[in-house]
Structures are given as C-alpha cells and as structure tokens.
C-alpha cells in the first residue's frame, strides 16, 4: 500500500512540479511592466533559447563577447522541442528566477508572456529600429500596443512541387488539389498538433477568414470561410487528393513522404529545401510561395523566434545590448548562412552570402511579407488546441465541417473567457 502511495506520489510531484503553483501576488502585467530604454553592453547576460543544433547561436555569443570585453553572454540551451522550451521557461518565470535574461520565444508565446508580466517593455528600442525589420515580423512582438521583443528569426511555409510531374506551379490551391488527385497527392502537416493549426490558418487567411476578432476578444470561427476551408480540406482526404496518412504527418513525415517520391505536392517550411536537394528527387522539385485560394491571393502564417527580456533579469541593459547585436545585419547574415534561419531584416535578403546559402531568398522575403501572425492572445495555446482538435475531427470525418466550425467557435470562445 505504501509502495503504491509512493509511486503515485512521485506522479503527483511530477505533475505538481510542472504546474508549479505560484503564490506571488505582485503585479506586472501590461500596464505597469518594467521598461528598458537603455542598452549597455556590460555585465553578465544569460540567453535561454532552444538547442543550438547548428552552432550558430554559439557563434553570435562568441562574436558579442569578443566585441564587448565588459560583457559576458552565456548560452543556456533548452530542449529542441518548442513545447518543452515553453514549459522550462514558464517554470523559471513562475519561480521568478533571474537565471534567464534574454528569452528566445516562439512568436506565439509573446502575448501570453507579456500578459503574465514576465517581459520587460522595449517599445522605445523597437521603435528606433522599426524600419530595418520586415514589418510582418515585428507584428509578432506587439501586444496591447507595445513591443515586448525583437524578432530574431522568422519563417513562412512554401509549396514544394515535383517539376517532373507538374511543369508549372498551379495558380491556386484548388488546382493543387486537383492536380494532386491525378498525380501522387498533396502532403502537409495534418497530425493533431500546432502544425495543423498553421496549415489550416494558411488557407483560412487566404480565404479572407479569421478565427478571432482583431483584438482577440471574441471568436469568429463560425463563418462561411471556416466552413469552406474545412470542407476543402476534408474533401481533399475523402477524394484522395491528400493521402489519409497526412493525419499522422508532422514536418518530418511529410518531408520523408515527399522525398521518397510518394507525393506530388508538399506544404513545408524552408528547411526541407536543402535536405531535399540531397535526396533522390534533388533535381525533380521546385518551390514557390503559396498559391491563391478562393479567388484571393496566397497568404502564410509566420513562424520563427523573438528575443525578449525577462521581467526578473538583473541586467536588462546588457540584455538589450545583446538583442540589438544578435539582430544586427552582420549577425543575421551568419544565422542565415550557418543555420538557414530566415532573417528578419529586409536588407539581409539581398546580401550575396545569404543569396548563396538560401537560393530562394527573394521568394522567402515575399513569403514572409505576405504571412500573418497567428492570433495574438494570452490564451493562444487553448485557441490553437480548439483549432487543431476540430480541424482534425473534420479531416477524420468524425464530424461534418459545419459542426466542426461551430464547435471550434464555441471552444475558442470558451478559451477566451477562461478566468
């Protein structure tokens, strides 16, 4: 009995530890957040960001430390998966830990962190450099009229297609699906996770639809556009334009299916380009920005990472100095060429080194410019769950598109109204 209790207690500790109930009651929040206006390259700064798989983050840190002998930046690598990075950052922030000065955040976490009072307001610093950034990327750092972060890298999806089967990129998604049905099909990220939200929103944004209103205070998903996109996606699977297997695909599964020759089209991020050029279909595929949909122009959804200063940082000036350095043109060129991370500064896209490393740089800039942020809301994780759960149900044929749209709307509204 006691042994059983101990085993269960271990579970309880694990779970309670993850949640980490915080008893603090000192505010923060949008209104009275700490402000950083001065950058000063001195003192110790710790940068907490996902795993440095290419070594490019380490390069920025070394370059900064060499250029600024008074300052010392340390890289603290978080896990590779975004969900776990968020979990670990939140654990530290809830404990008011000053361990992390600069946070590398997935663009969808900005609103949540800012609303919780975990970030310092850097509106002045961002405004000073506003013209350098691709405008859409800076929008991901905006919450309640203030800037909370600087974009560090960005991302936007592409349509990959087999140039040996399809001589010219189709003009719209309808044609992509039609062609896919005749040839080997369309693959995308249809697993029940964040990626499905992105894939759905890309079509929905093209259709001119939305899931929440402008300031994310009301759900707007029970609309004709949502029903149409859901019908389009569900029919795609039913009619065989997309294989049933896409409901288990994340990025890597789609890439493997495409590279093994099992698909004519693929929706994926730019990272699949370089890898594809080493595969057996290296000379048989091309990429293009998203085609239009429902008579409208193509639209994408922004990915990427922003850099923000933790509210509990003891050296915000040093942190800001490092953020400015990491988002400077020279360093952005290094990120693009060493790690294939799409830059956030407009001018960097025409740099010869970048054009060599990312041969599709011009297309990429266009894709990033036409992409939009996902709903900016402190409860984004729940909104996204409401989206992907119901899109998935429609893809599986468990519910009709109409039903899925109205449930999605209810779920989003419920998320928005959470205490």
């Amino acid at each position: 009995m006691l042994r059983a209790a101990a085993v269960l207690a271990a579970l309880a500790i694990g779970i309670a530890g993850c949640g980490g109930g915080d008893d603090d009651d000192d505010g923060g929040g949008g209104a009275d957040a700490k402000k950083v206006t001065q950058a000063k390259a001195s003192g110790d700064v710790t940068w907490c960001i996902g795993k440095d798989t290419t070594g490019a983050f380490g390069t920025v840190v070394d370059n900064f430390n060499k250029a600024n002998p008074d300052a010392n930046v340390t890289l603290l690598e978080l896990p590779e998966a975004a969900d776990q990075q968020r979990e670990q950052q939140i654990q530290r922030l809830q404990a008011e830990s000053d361990e992390c000065d600069v946070l590398g955040m997935d663009v969808i976490w900005t609103a949540e962190y800012a609303a919780q009072g975990w970030l310092q307001d850097i509106t002045d610093a961002a405004n000073k450099r506003k013209d350098e950034f691709v405008p859409s990327t800076l929008d991901t750092a905006l919450y309640e009229g203030k800037y909370w972060a600087l974009p560090f890298n960005t991302n936007a999806g592409f349509l990959y297609y087999r140039s040996d089967q399809v001589p010219e990129a189709p003009a719209d998604w309808e044609a992509v699906y039609q062609q896919g049905q005749q040839d080997n099909g369309v693959v995308y990220q249809g697993f029940r996770y964040e990626g499905l939200t992105v894939n759905f929103l890309e079509l929905l944004y093209s259709a001119g639809g939305s899931v929440v209103n402008e300031d994310a205070t009301e759900a707007t998903a029970d609309s004709q556009e949502v029903r149409d996109v859901l019908t389009f996606m569900a029919d795609g699977i039913k009619d065989g334009a997309a294989p049933k297997a896409v409901t288990t695909y994340k990025e890597e599964e789609s890439r493997r299916a495409f590279e093994s020759g099992n698909a004519t089209f693929m929706r994926n991020w730019p990272y699949a380009y370089a890898l594809g050029k080493e595969s057996k279909i290296a000379d048989e595929f091309e990429i293009t920005t998203f085609p239009g949909y429902a008579g409208n122009e193509g639209a994408g959804v922004l990915g990427g990472y922003d850099l923000a200063i933790s509210a509990y940082s003891k050296n915000p000036e040093g942190a800001l100095a490092f953020m400015n350095f990491a988002t400077s043109p020279d360093q952005q060129v290094i990120q693009a060429s060493e790690a294939s991370l799409p830059p956030v500064l407009t001018e960097v896209y025409s740099d010869p080194t970048v054009e060599k490393a990312l041969p599709f740089a011009a297309d990429l800039l266009q894709a990033v410019e036409q992409a939009q942020p996902r709903p900016v809301s402190p409860v984004y994780p729940q909104i996204s769950e409401a989206i992907f759960t119901n899109v998935y149900a429609a893809l599986q044929g468990d519910t009709s598109p109409d039903e899925a749209a109205s449930t999605m709307n209810e779920d989003i509204q419920k998320a928005i109204e959470t205490f």
């Binding site: 009995m1 006691l2 059983a4 209790a5 101990a6 085993v7 269960l8 207690a9 271990a10 579970l11 309880a12 500790i13 779970i15 309670a16 993850c18 949640g19 109930g21 915080d22 603090d24 009651d25 000192d26 505010g27 923060g28 929040g29 969900d83 979990e87 939140i90 949540e112 609303a115 919780q116 009072g117 975990w118 697993f191 029940r192 996770y193 294989p243 049933k244 297997a245 409901t247 288990t248 599964e253 493997r256 299916a257 093994s260 099992n262 402190p378 409860v379 994780p381 729940q382 769950e385 998935y392 599986q396 959470t418 205490f419």
Partner: protein
Amino acid sequence: MEAATARLRRRPRGRDGYGRSERRLAATMLAPSLIVIAAVAAYPIGYAFWLSLTEYSLRTPGLWRFAGFDNYSEALSSPEFWDALTTTFVFSGISVGLELVIGLGMALCMHEAFKGRAILRTVVLVPWAVLTVTTAITWRTIFEPGLGLAPVLLDKLGLPGADIVWLGEEPYALGVMILADVWKTAPFMALLILAGLQVIPDELYDAAKVDGASAWQRFRRITLPLLRPAILVALIFRTLDALRIFDLPFVLTQGANGTTTLSLIAQQELTTNRLIGLGSALSVLTFLIVMAVAFIYIRALGGNIRALAEET
C-alpha cells in the same frame, strides 16, 4: 498447526503481546521512513489536492481564487474525462492481460535448464531497459504509413493491413499502443514471475511425477497456485503503471484517435493550457482511481497470503 493459526487469527494484529518498550522501539525505528514518506508522498498529494480547489488567472498575473469543487465538477461533467477513463481501462486491461500470458510463457521457458539460458535471460530484458519514450518513437517509425517496417512488411507478404494508417485510425492506434506496451513490459512481468518460479521446491514436482501427474496437471495444481503471490505482485505493478500511462500516447498520437489517457489530459491541462486547478483536479482523480484499484488488488493479495498461511 491448526491451533497455532487459530490463535493467530483470534488475536488482532498489533496488540499481540509485545511489550510497551518493544513497541516504542518499533515506532522509533519506523519514524525515519514515515517522515520520508510524509515528505515525498503526503505533502505533494496534499498540495496537489489544495491546488485542485483553486483557480489561477491566465491573463492577470497573481490573480487567484478559491474555486471549491468547481474543477472537479468541470472534470467529471466533461465527456473527455469519461472517454479518457474508458480508454485508460481498456488499455490497461488488454495490455496487462497480454503481458501476463506472454510473461508467464517467457518465465516458464527461462526457468527450464538449457544451454544459453543466462544469455536468453539477459537478452529478453532488453526491451524493458529501453526508455518508454524511445520505445514510442521506434514504434511510431515502424508504423509510419507507406514507409515504416510494418506497412512495408505487410505489403511484401501480401497480408491485409498494408494500407491502414495505423496511428491515424480508431481502434488501430490503440492497438499499436498496446503492442508497444506489451513489447516493452512483458519481459518485466516475466522476470517477476521467474522469481516466483524459482522458489517452488523441485520435490513437489518429483512427488507429483511419482504420483503420475501429467505435465498439465503439475502446471495447474502446483505451478499456478504457488505462483499466485508472485503473479499478483506483478499484476499490481503493471496495472498501476498502465493506469498512469503517459509517454506512449504522448509520443505516438498526442491522444488522437481514441488514445487519450487520464495522465495525458492532466498533463495537457497543466502544462500546455496552464490550467493548474483543473489539471490538479484531474491528477487527483487519477490518483484516487489508481488508489482504488491498488486497494482492491491488495485486498486480494492479502487474502491470498492468509489463505496460503492456512494451507501450510
């Protein structure tokens, strides 16, 4: 013998004639472990229960309110909870059942004396040594549509199922999850049962052979009854583990297609949605369910031990 057990039964346990000083000594010696248990078990359980009665704001930092049993009524009135409960019990029942049968078979094989027995015993344990997350990733890859080992093999052999999207359809996704669990933990079951087998004296079998009992009769009348305590211990371990299953559905399907378990929904509410109150309520409910099952088992096991004591 008869008299001795009767006396044992008549006397309530704990008041059986030990002196006061001995009892005090026992209490002193037990104290450290009781304190440790209180620190690592009672405190977090109590804290999780307290959290389950509260609600934190997801928008305003520091905003907190006492919610009473709201989180529980929300959990108990949501169809997701009941679906997860059903899935968890179906998963546990089938996988533990299969593990018992396969584990028993493996233990009987390993118990036989033959050349290479030591190597076999080691090799059999390998799946158990592999991390569950790694197991899950492996099985996910094996069942990858069109490219994984399973669909390719089924296709090559001309068997049905090559076209099934195993992890994308009900009830196949749960089937893969059970398969992965059985593959991983049947060896553990085998090891526990093997330990039970080894304490059965060979004389019993010799005597039975002399009496002309067949192999089946020896198995039914000697092996199984004497193995019962070991099997029950193995079943408790495995059932409690299975009821808390998290890693497999988390990696294989993220809970899609009828594989959402109780621990998975608790984790999703706690870490993804940061609904600490609701998440804690779900963990407390999981805890109570697992406790109830453990209690039933221990009653069964306790009764069994007493029955054994009376037989001998």
